[in-house]
Amino acid sequence: MHKTKRETKIVIFVMVFIAAVMPFILGTKNNYFINILISYCYYGIMAMSLNLLVGYTGQISLGHGAFMAIGGYTYAILTKTLGWHFLPAIFGSLVLTFLLGLLIGLASCKLHAIFLAMTTLGFSKVVSLIIINEGWLTGGANGFVGIKKLTVFGHRFMNYQLYFVALALTLMVALICYRLIYSKTGRAFQAIRTAPIAAASMGINVNGYKFLVCGISAAMAGLAGCIYALNINYLSADIFDKSSILLLTMTVVGGMGSLFGPIIGTLVIGTLPELLRPFAEYLDGIYGVVIILVVLFMPHGIYGGMKSLIDRKRKSDILSEVTP
């Protein structure tokens, strides 16, 4: 199933190494860069979560930002309002997002792709309305302010230290995705996407897996929300509302249905707003153009495009060896 294992390992090692030394190169006190690095982590987790849902099981979610919001707000409410420790609070928001994900999963068992997309869009609108209207709980339109920095045994984490926590969590999610995708369950996910009827006639419990993957994916998004809350210390509904499409862009541009795709997508799309600061008003338009270009010229995303280039080169290398 996974050839070029050694090369892949090297690539992963190099990527993790670069990610780990980045704060020391850019300066551990440079909060601007550290915040960008942390944003790669939570967006990366979001893209992987969406990839599991869209790329591997073929179920489109247009409202994934809602799960990120629920994760973040749950964390904020549990730690600030109820005074929980950060670990049980993260666990609590994982459980809640997982359960709500199962709820969407119930819908996904009944609905075909486009209707599920509309359902998730509706779900995210409902979530953002609840956040805005239930001010006593969420801070309403003013947002949730004053989320505590990560503190363990009286030690307050610096931003760059938080980055390492976020990076570790991201790697953990990546590992879970990897284990899942190359397992029997992962093959079942992909079978459901390519040929659902055949999958059912192989004895795969199609609805059961759809249900499950929605829960897992939502919990991942919830984790990303927790990291967001820890980093920014402030939450507001509109940030998450806007991010659903951004996240889908990352996944599509990077390449769906591959492990590296979403990570590449996160790095590319996550960097764009910083590079294009002067054109901030046109950002949404630029995303649109990027999506159109990618769909036209690299239907399998940047990762898929690179892979087919490498494959082509390898083939021509072999040919040039054969023909003198």
């Binding site: 199933m1 992909q190 055949a198 059912a200 006639s201 004895g203 199609v206």
Partner: protein, 236 residues
């Protein structure tokens, strides 16, 4: 002894009734064919047996009654396997991984290597192409793959939905020879086929379906001689 017995089966899509009381009996080790025009309800009948759509009426498999709420996965475990219409191979998986999907419900410690050997013997083509993506196979090869994949689920009753669809006549003959071979190994077969001529030749017993009902049944060779069947399905 009958392996599958169906009595008074009704099924509907919403308010549209598709099956209006089907009675059907498959004797163990036989090839049964269901012939009928488009829209007669043949595929719906298979979907009921596979547990993909709800029904009322009774389905008894090996003497055990299977109610409508028994899931398709449980039925596969019991040995009811369907090869769906239009082959439905997993296009992005390699041939080998497609075959492995067939063994999905088998217990973990089950050795599939000897089973794969067996399938490669039956379909040498699949062995040659085992690392190729299934989507790149020809139609006939995909049908062989779909058959091979179904065999890895250890079927006792194999249901084939239009195995000849869209295939060249030479390939169709090959596929039907294989169906014979599988039957000789003791697998009972339920064959749904538009190519009634060929289906009646290979089958032991036949049912003719019209508008969600069985209109005629009998020994396949006799059905093939029936005046009405000849006029309707065999081109006079």
């Amino acid at each position: 002894m009958s392996i599958l017995k169906i009595e008074g089966l009704h099924a509907a899509y919403g308010s549209t009734k598709v099956l209006n009381g089907i009675d059907l009996d498959i004797a163990e080790g036989q090839i049964i064919t269901i012939v009928g025009s488009n829209g007669a309800g043949k595929t719906t009948l298979l979907s009921c047996i596979s547990g993909l759509i709800p029904y009322t009426g009774s389905i008894t498999f090996r003497g055990e009654s299977i109610s409508s709420n028994v899931g398709s996965d449980e039925r596969v475990k019991r040995g009811i396997i369907q090869v769906p219409e239009g082959r439905q191979v997993f296009a992005e998986f390699s041939v080998l991984n497609n075959l492995k999907m067939g063994a999905y419900t088998l217990p973990r410690n089950e050795k599939i290597a000897p089973m794969l050997e067996e399938i490669y013997k039956l379909f040498p083509r699949l062995n040659e192409r085992k690392n190729q993506k299934a989507g790149s196979l020809s139609g006939g090869e995909q049908q062989m793959l779909a058959l091979g994949r179904a065999l890895l689920s250890k079927p006792q009753l194999l249901m084939l939905d239009e195995p000849s669809m869209g295939l060249a006549p030479v390939v169709v003959i090959d596929i039907f020879k294989t169906i014979r071979k599988l039957n000789e190994r003791g697998i009972s077969i339920l064959l749904v086929e538009q190519n009634a001529k060929l289906a009646l030749k290979v089958a032991d017993y036949a049912y003719v379906m019209e508008n969600g009902r069985i209109s005629l049944s009998g020994v396949a060779s006799e059905i093939a001689e029936d005046e009405k069947v000849r006029a309707a399905y065999l081109g006079g």
